[in-house]
């Protein structure tokens, strides 16, 4: 059954993710280069390093200092985080940092997989595409103003990282 945008939004809302914008795509398979996997891995590391501009969101993800550093150094993705394509490679998505976003694996990435799979066979597929590089559920982004010590500390780390990268 072809989903309307309203239906797709309701389905996401049922999955407790009502705040994700959707884009419509025609799922036409395209050829993917044979060396896509090493390129994908490299891109994921590039994406992780680019997250120094997303400290506000990272501060809400309950990462330890070590996990945060490993992430923005582009070394290791902490447990329960996923990097997803906005438009999958197989459907013509670009191998580009702008085509990626990060979210929690459980429950969000697992539910987003299910959201896309439920549309299998449809002419138009609605794909989740958060506004920012990191998707957080609504209750996280609405957290009260309980202090900014963590965000400040992480901002300091990020600023140090960026300064170290400048030629």
């Amino acid at each position: 059954m072809q989903w309307t945008q309203d239906f797709a939004e309701k389905r996401l809302s049922d999955m407790q993710m009502p705040n994700i914008p959707l884009t419509a795509t025609q799922p036409t398979p395209v050829a993917v280069s044979p060396d896509w996997f090493p390129k994908y891995k490299k891109l994921c590391h590039e994406f992780m390093r680019s997250l120094t501009d997303s400290v506000q969101e990272l501060a809400l993800m309950n990462l330890s200092r070590d996990e945060f550093m490993e992430l923005i150094m582009g070394r290791t993705l902490p447990v329960n985080l996923s990097i997803r394509f906005r438009t999958p490679l197989l459907w013509g998505g670009a191998m580009d940092v702008d085509n990626l976003f990060m979210c929690f694996t459980f429950p969000h990435s697992q539910c987003l997989d299910r959201f896309i799979i439920e549309q299998a066979g449809n002419e138009t597929v609605w794909l989740p595409s958060p506004e920012k590089k990191i998707y957080l559920p609504l209750h996280s982004t609405l957290a009260g103003n309980g202090g900014n010590a963590t965000a400040d500390r992480l901002s300091q780390f990020a600023a140090t990282m960026n300064a170290g990268r400048r030629p």
């Binding site: 994908y40 994921c44 309950n62 447990v79 999958p88 694996t105 697992q110 299910r114 799979i117």
Partner: protein, 144 residues
């Protein structure tokens, strides 16, 4: 690949393993899986669970009989909880999802045959004659 080779290789690659399970837990799990009309735990997976009750490497996860967590993060769901959520997916009929990474899902069927599935539409991408190879590829595919 033997189970020991699998565990050794994954350990060397930095995988995290959940605590081993008691055979009684696996029997109970099978009863619960039967109520979902999905494949029950094959022998090799039962033996794997008696060594480790699930595993994680990067974005790759093998679900265990119980949920497990690491460093206070959101728990990784049990294989039962994962498959309870998927009962409406007709393409999975008779299969049980045992693992995932950010690109693929992994399943076994009633005969214990493992498959790699596309996480966009559940198309079968690969069939495995060696189930430990399937577990290995599920986890190593997540090591980015």
């Amino acid at each position: 690949m033997t189970q020991q080779e699998l565990i050794e290789t994954l350990t060397n690659r930095g995988a995290f393993f959940a605590s081993a399970c008691h055979p009684g837990q696996i029997k109970l799990l099978n009863i619960n899986l039967q109520t979902l009309n999905v494949a029950t735990i094959p022998n090799y997976m039962g033996e794997f669970y008696q060594v480790c009750g699930g595993a994680w490497l990067g974005t790759g996860y093998v679900f265990g009989p119980n949920e497990f967590s690491y460093n206070g993060h959101h728990p990784i769901p049990s294989i039962l909880d994962i498959n309870k959520d998927l009962t409406n997916l007709k393409a999975l009929h008779g299969k049980t999802i045992f693992g995932r990474n950010d690109l693929f899902w992994f399943a076994f069927d009633a005969l214990g045959e493992c498959t790699m599935l596309d996480n966009l539409n559940l198309n079968v991408l690969r069939k495995y004659s060696d189930p430990y190879r399937a577990i290995y590829e599920c986890l190593i595919g997540g090591k980015i």
